[in-house]
């Protein structure tokens, strides 16, 4: 045995050096042979001899393998002789059952191929470890399988005798093979084969595994092994079920998929964004609810114990009215929902929960968490687009890879069908878009005009809001009681009306510009963004004015308080100053205006009214319109469905921006109204259902469907911007405005953030405070900030250079693939010419070791090529080995002399090779999946140099 091993190794040596390419080579050869097989019907008669010979060669190989595997130990010595015998043996056999063989061949070849694949993947995993082994291993596996085949078919008479002596070594081999099969079963789905082939391979592999799994581990280890196998099976099943469960747990997944299939990815992207937002808000809600509201409700002082926790006497009569509650005043105002209810007690309850600190940290943490998650998502999304063009062969990709074969139920299949159709539409529109040529000057002029109009609209609406706010301030100064409902609600009305109508105007304007819908969507988003931003900041400025007013008022109240207290004491206890303080009902105590609660209320009201507006718009604008169009179409003088009102389209930009601005409001207001995240979660939850229903029931897909690739990141960028903008006023109020003196967790302090220094003083050892004091020294902070900026700059620069390098590599890959294709063609031509030469075809087929010796030259050559291509990764390897299949074939004489090939090499190549418009090395091939992209069943053996 050792001797033989050595010899084979020696023979294989050249092949082993680049086993990767060798394995591929085998595949390629098969590809070729398959092509030839396809060609045979035409040239069957002329190739009769060739076929027969080829057949027997294959057969010989089979038996060779079998015996070698079975009788490794005793047969190796007389192998040379045996080979000859077998050759003759199988010759007759082949002659007898050529047809049979043809049938079987395909099966066997399948196995072969998958073997090669298995080997390849194995190599991919541990390339270093198995430098020389894999070939051997592959060989043995093959041999084993042959044995199995024989056993199954019963054609091998000597197989029974060979089965008995199973040694450890063989056991290990068998085990390995079983593992291999299992792996194959697991990865079979991803193989680019025909369904029929997949099924047959799967069946075979399963049979094999079943048969040998039990047989393995004979003796004492058997039971344990069987148990292990059973457990792994159960584990696998559990894992799969768990995966299914996980996908089923993704909320609204089915709904979104359904919408995506009918409306395209752009509408679906909105819903995905909505779902993402919902997740974020759930976490914000958990923070505020768990760390602020619940502790206060459970452990804080109860309602009515303090003035700040009691409804004042004047409001008591109306405090429980619905109108008051709906306005978030009355009992709602004096509850955990708002800032003012919280007490400035340092610790509450038996847990010694530090309420003010918790409140402050939750407020900061909300914003910090949002920043983190938005930026992280953006970074992750940015990774997705690797740069460069992945657009080549778009249609063939869609054509051949769209269908999901795992779809089980008819409804999903319908959806998938619809979605594939939609995606085709999208792609076609995009293609058209890229081919179109038009009058550039006219378009430019129109675009400038459109922008001018949009700017005019923006300026006009800005001025209108400004005007209204000024007027409302005038009204407020004069006293709102003198004015009617219209005057009081003028600002809100104007703002929501402008927010409703201006986007439609922008939409109409943008039709002038004639952009691609995706770009048009961005413009639209940008314009509406500007509009909403104007609205928001007008609102904030108005709020700031109000805060200033309240601060003035507070001073007066503070002064009055002292007078009131003095009068209280003076009136009741003039004689004894040490008597306990008089009990006054907390409802009667005069109190300050508490601007924080006012701000929180404003934000809550705005959120609620915004939600209501959205829902009413959906109900009227979409649902009622759809009902009208649908049912009045029977008795109308023109076609309502095609004509004037029609059904509405889903307004992506408006909805996305509404969502984003709403979120900005939440971020701004949640510090002063801890209930805001809860309200928002509720809103998002309902709007998910409502909008899903509205879209499916009353909207029509856009006329121009388009792909929403990468628009998600655009949404994210806007969200980040809004987050930043909404953090500004919140931070400003926290840092620079003193908190109210008689409400909220920070009352009594000059600034809110003093709660931190207070905690440091009381709850931490003194050295910590000292360290903190040093650390907060500007001399230390400034260099730190500088360092951060520098590191960001550095990281940015490196990432850019990586991107460039990636692009460069991609280009290189592409060019090399082209180069290889060209070379491939040349070599194929050459080989064809060689075949023409009768002298070359004459030498008898090399047998056994001889054959092995005959090919190293080519292999060396190939090795160089392979090495060269290895630099660029697997696909390259594949194509480089493809290049060589012909030269290595020619001497081993697998090509029958093609009499009619004559001087027409290209057509004969086209016949003998698998159709290769797009092979592995080509761009657009998915990275990391370098398997052969076409079915290639049933091809005879390639060169046997590494067998």
């Amino acid at each position: 045995m050792p001797k033989h091993e050595k010899s084979t190794e020696g023979n294989d040596g050249s092949g082993d050096n680049e086993e990767g390419s060798a394995a591929e080579n085998e595949e390629n050869v098969k590809g070729t042979d398959k092509g030839r097989k396809r060609a045979t019907p035409r040239t069957a008669r002329s190739h009769g001899r060739g076929r027969a010979r080829h057949g027997d060669e294959e057969n010989e190989d089979d038996e060779d393998g079998t015996r070698r595997a079975g009788h490794h130990r005793h047969r190796n010595r007389r192998r040379g002789r045996a080979a000859g015998n077998e050759g003759s043996d199988s010759d007759t056999e082949a002659a007898k059952a050529r047809k049979n063989q043809a049938n079987q061949k395909s099966k066997e070849d399948d196995e072969e191929e998958e073997d090669g694949k298995g080997g390849k993947s194995g190599k991919g995993k541990n390339e270093k470890k198995v430098d020389k082994k894999p070939d051997k291993k592959g060989k043995k596996e093959k041999a084993n399988k042959k044995k199995k085949d024989k056993k199954k078919s019963g054609s091998g008479s000597d197989s029974d005798s060979e089965e008995e002596p199973i040694t450890e070594e063989e056991l290990a081999k068998l085990k390995e093979e079983v593992e291999e099969k299992k792996k194959l079963i697991a990865t079979l789905r991803n193989k680019p084969w025909k369904m029929k082939k997949k099924l047959s391979v799967l069946k075979e592999a399963q049979l094999f595994v079943e048969k040998f799994e039990g047989a393995l581990g004979k003796g004492k280890g058997k039971k344990f092994y069987a148990y292990k196998v059973m457990m792994t099976k159960k584990w696998m099943k559990f894992q799969r079920d768990f995966e299914n469960f996980k996908t089923a747990c993704i909320p609204w997944e089915m709904k979104i998929k359904e919408i995506e299939s009918h409306f395209g990815s752009s509408v679906a992207s909105y819903f995905i964004f909505l779902r993402w937002m919902y997740g974020i808000n759930m976490i914000l809600f958990g923070l505020t609810f768990g760390l602020v509201m619940v502790p206060e409700a459970l452990m804080g002082k109860p309602y009515g114990s303090l003035p700040r926790k009691t409804v004042p006497r004047a409001e008591e009569a109306t405090a429980m009215n619905f109108a008051t509650l709906w306005d978030f005043s009355g009992f709602a105002q004096y509850s955990v929902l708002f800032y003012g209810y919280y007490n400035n007690q340092r610790t509450i309850g038996w847990l010694k929960f530090r309420m003010p600190l918790s409140y402050f940290l939750v407020g900061v943490g909300t914003i910090g968490y949002s920043f983190m998650i938005v930026i992280r998502t953006m970074a992750r999304n940015a990774n997705d687009d690797g740069g460069g063009d992945d657009t080549s062969f778009n249609f063939s990709w869609k054509m051949f890879t769209s269908w999901d074969y795992l779809i089980g139920n008819p409804e999903t299949a319908d959806n998938k069908f619809a979605s594939i159709t939609t995606s085709f539409k999208e792609a076609i529109v995009e293609e058209q878009e890229s081919r179109k040529e038009e009058n550039i000057h006219l378009t430019r002029f129109l675009r400038v005009l459109a922008n001018f109009l949009a700017l005019c609209t923006l300026a006009g609406s800005g001025y209108l809001i400004f005007f209204v706010v000024r007027r409302s301030q005038k009204f407020a100064l004069e006293g709102l009681e003198n004015y009617g409902w219209w005057e009081r609600n003028e600002v809100n009305m104007v703002m929501s009306l402008l927010g409703m109508f201006c986007p439609t105007l922008f939409d109409v304007i943008s039709s002038l510009e004639n952009y691609h819908p995706r770009i048009a969507l961005r413009w639209q988003l940008g314009r509406i963004f500007a509009l909403f931003l104007g609205n928001l900041y007008t609102f904030i400025i108005a709020l700031m004015d109000e805060i200033n007013l309240k601060l003035e008022e507070e001073k007066i109240v503070k002064y009055n308080m002292t007078i009131w207290e003095a009068s209280l004491y003076n009136g009741t206890i003039p004689e004894n100053s040490t008597a306990p303080p008089i009990q006054v009902d907390p409802a009667d105590v005069p109190r300050g205006p508490c601007w924080e609660t006012m701000v929180g209320q404003e934000f809550v009201r705005l959120t609620v009214s915004d939600t209501m507006t959205t829902y009413i718009t959906i109900l009227i604008g979409d649902f009622l319109r759809a009902v009208f169009v649908r049912f009045f179409n029977y008795c109308w003088c023109w076609d309502l469905e095609y004509g004037f009102p029609s059904y509405s389209e889903f307004d992506i930009s408006g909805n996305v921006l509404g969502l984003i601005f709403n979120q900005g409001m939440i971020w701004m207001g949640s510090f002063y109204a801890p209930c805001l995240p809860a309200i928002n979660v509720f809103r998002l939850h309902t709007s998910m259902y409502l909008q899903c229903w509205a879209v499916m029931c009353c909207n029509v897909p856009q006329e121009r469907v388009f792909k929403a690739s990468r628009s998600n990141n655009f949404y994210m960028a806007m969200l980040l911007f809004i987050l930043f903008l909404s953090t500004l006023p919140a931070v400003y109020t926290i840092v620079s405005i003193p908190p109210s003196f008689d409400c909220g967790p920070f009352s009594g302090k000059t600034r809110m953030f003093e709660v931190i220094s207070e905690t440091l003083e009381h709850d931490f050892p003194s050295w910590f405070g000292k360290v903190f004091g040093y650390a907060s020294n500007p001399g230390l902070i400034l260099p730190f900030i500088l360092l951060m900026v520098l590191s960001i700059y550095y990281l940015n620069a490196t990432s850019k250079s990586y991107k460039e390098a990636n692009l460069e590599l991609k280009k290189k890959l592409q060019s090399q693939a082209e180069e290889n294709k060209r070379r491939n063609k040349q070599k194929a031509q050459k080989s064809n010419e060689q075949e023409e030469n009768p002298f070359e075809t004459e030498p008898p087929k090399p047998k056994g070791g001889k054959q092995d010796e005959s090919t190293p030259n080519q292999d060396n050559k190939k090795g160089q090529d392979g090495n060269e291509s290895k630099k660029t990764g697997q696909p390259q390897e594949a194509s480089s080995s493809q290049v060589l299949q012909h030269p290595s074939l020619a001497p081993s004489n697998h090509y029958p002399p093609q009499s009619q090939a004559g001087n027409l090499p290209p057509p004969s190549i086209a016949v003998t090779r698998p159709p290769g418009p797009r092979r592995y090395g080509m761009p657009g091939y998915p990275p990391g999946n370098p398997c052969f992209p076409g079915p290639q069943p049933g091809m005879p053996r390639g060169p046997h140099n590494y067998r």
């Binding site: 609406s461 219209w486 104007v494 109409v508 003088c637 023109w638 076609d639 309502l640 095609y642």
Partner: protein, 259 residues
């Protein structure tokens, strides 16, 4: 009292409506307002004015030129709701493909459609055209004669379509129509189609063309044609006559026989 600011907030909405439906507004202006004004000023009907223009500008005996003159008048002077050049090409092509021998046109109006159909007929074919309004019919008669089609080729029947269709076989000798072109009142499409069916005037494989199925639109007709199973329905998308921006369509129905 609503404040002016709120009223101003509706301005973008108005502008949006104006811009979005500008083509329809222009159509309203041209087809209704201008026509009404001219009727008042000249004392003649729109159709007569069109015929006068035709007399002055068209070459008699040349149907092509007559159609062109019609188009010219509609583009430059007033709007006339006939087939129009864009949809006319669709009709012409279908007529050439089918080469029908018995053609029925419902709704002659000014004779534009009639001339269009008649010039594309194969030799030996006969065209029946039905018009409900006698004034229009008088103009149409003159137009048809001006184009050089005699009574053997084109027969103009005056009378409302629901009365004429039952009598077609007895009075006018139309046994089976191979090709039907509908361009009268859009509300009557469905009723007349059913009438044709019930009187078995449709030959096997007959083609029925219906104009203006999208604008002003004949939804019931389309729905019936799509669902009843006796027709293979196809809508050729085009634009309204003389208004490129308003979408319209011609429905093509192949009669596949009774169930």
């Amino acid at each position: 009292m609503v404040s002016p600011a709120i009223a101003l907030a509706f301005l973008p909405f108005l502008v949006t409506l104006l811009i979005r439906y500008r083509h329809y507004l222009v159509l309203l202006y041209r087809a209704v307002l201008v026509a009404w004004l001219r009727d008042r000023l000249t004392g003649t009907t729109r159709e007569q004015r069109a015929f006068q223009y035709l007399l002055a500008h068209a070459i008699p005996g040349d149907p092509h030129h007559i159609l062109q003159t019609f188009d010219q008048w509609c583009y430059h002077c007033e709007h006339l709701s006939c087939v129009g050049p864009a949809k006319g090409r669709i009709v012409e092509r279908l007529l050439l493909e089918r080469a029908p021998l018995w053609v029925l046109e419902l709704g002659t109006y000014c004779g534009y459609g009639t001339v269009l159909l008649a010039q594309g007929l194969p030799p030996g074919a006969r065209l029946y055209t039905v018009e409900g309004n006698p004034q229009h019919a008088a103009v149409a008669e003159k137009v048809i004669r001006l184009a050089g089609f005699d009574e053997h080729t084109v027969e103009l029947i005056v009378g409302p379509s629901e009365e004429v269709i039952p009598q077609l076989r007895e009075k006018h000798g139309l046994m089976k129509a191979d090709f039907v072109f509908m361009d009268h009142w859009k509300r009557c499409y469905l009723r007349d189609l059913r009438l044709l069916e019930s009187h078995q005037l449709l030959a096997e494989g007959a083609t029925i063309l219906a104009d203006n199925v999208l604008f002003p639109g004949a939804p019931h007709f389309l729905q019936y044609a799509k669902t009843c199973g006796r027709y293979r329905c196809k809508v050729h998308r085009a634009s309204l006559e003389y208004f490129r921006a308003i979408p319209d369509g011609v429905a093509e129905l192949r009669y596949t026989g009774a169930r």
